[in-house]
């Protein structure tokens, strides 16, 4: 399976990769994007099984990315990995079909719970 990790922080992308390995998902291919614009380009070039996106990013935020992805008819499994998680944000994400909402800081167990159904 192919996972797209979207975060403007390079170190956070590394941590997400590390946590995926710790959660037992190390066998999957991981591609990184630095913001929503880069992610959108990656999604147009390739098929992904899961998108794990930060919310606040320059150029195009995570929720703008999700909206754009759905507008293009792409129903990829999409979730957020973010430090902010208000009820309003969750509701907006859910309305566009977000599958999970992981709040930073996270553990391997958090990833297991959120991704087991999709990646196992």
């Amino acid at each position: 399976m192919q996972i797209l990790v979207v975060d403007d922080s390079p170190v956070m992308r590394k941590i997400v990769r590390r946590t995926l390995r710790q959660a037992g998902f190390g066998g999957h291919d991981v591609v990184e994007a630095g913001d929503g614009v880069e992610a959108l380009a990656a999604l147009e070039e390739d098929d992904f099984d899961v998108v794990m996106s930060d919310w606040n990013m320059p150029n195009m935020s995570g929720i703008e990315l999700l909206e754009e992805v759905r507008e293009k008819g792409n129903q990829v499994t999409f979730g957020f990995v973010t430090s902010e998680s208000t009820a309003l944000m969750r509701a907006r994400a859910t309305s566009f079909g977000a599958s999970f909402f992981i709040t930073k800081p996270f553990t391997a167990e958090t990833f297991e719970d959120a991704l087991a159904d999709t990646l196992d």
Binding site: S9, V11, N56, S83, E84, S85, T86, K104, P105, T107
Partner: protein, 149 residues
């Protein structure tokens, strides 16, 4: 304003760094090595400065290195030289960003890290009300403190 306690701080740093940390709360403390590049502001939803965070350069370098598995020597060398390491501080900023979740868990007001990276020179605009001394396994230690505007 409620600030994170020692346990929450330890959990957050350990999760972010993937390393054990020792944390001591320092009553009425101040940071020892304040630097404009390790001073951060959280804004409320009206973009008003709400919480000040200050950190010792040594802690910022150590945490920024530990979370990316960068050798401790790079962090300690930068601290000894008194030169902010751009990459390590960018990493540490992510820790500061994530600490906003601990503040939002404890308070009705919603805050987020000021994205404009305003450098704060001169005296601190507010006293620190919660200060922690943090030692990171195999890396240096240092202080971080929070104060409400």
């Amino acid at each position: 304003m409620q600030f994170p306690d020692k346990t929450a701080m330890a959990e957050t740093f350990e999760m972010m760094l993937g390393k054990e940390v020792d944390i001591v709360e320092v009553p009425h403390g101040v940071v020892k090595d304040r630097h404009p590049k390790t001073t951060y502001v959280y804004l409320n939803d009206s973009d008003e400065p709400t919480i000040l965070v200050e950190a010792d350069l040594s802690l910022a370098h150590a945490a920024g290195a530990a979370m990316a598995l960068i050798p401790p020597s790079r962090a300690s060398d930068a601290t000894e030289a008194g030169e902010p390491d751009v990459e390590l501080l960018a990493n540490f900023k992510e820790v500061i960003n994530i600490l906003s979740a601990l503040l939002n868990d404890r308070n009705d007001v919603h805050v987020r890290l000021d994205p404009h990276e305003t450098e704060m020179t001169g005296p601190p605009p507010t006293d620190l009300q919660a200060v922690f001394e943090i030692e990171i396994d195999r890396y240096d230690s240092g202080r971080i403190g929070f104060g409400a505007y």
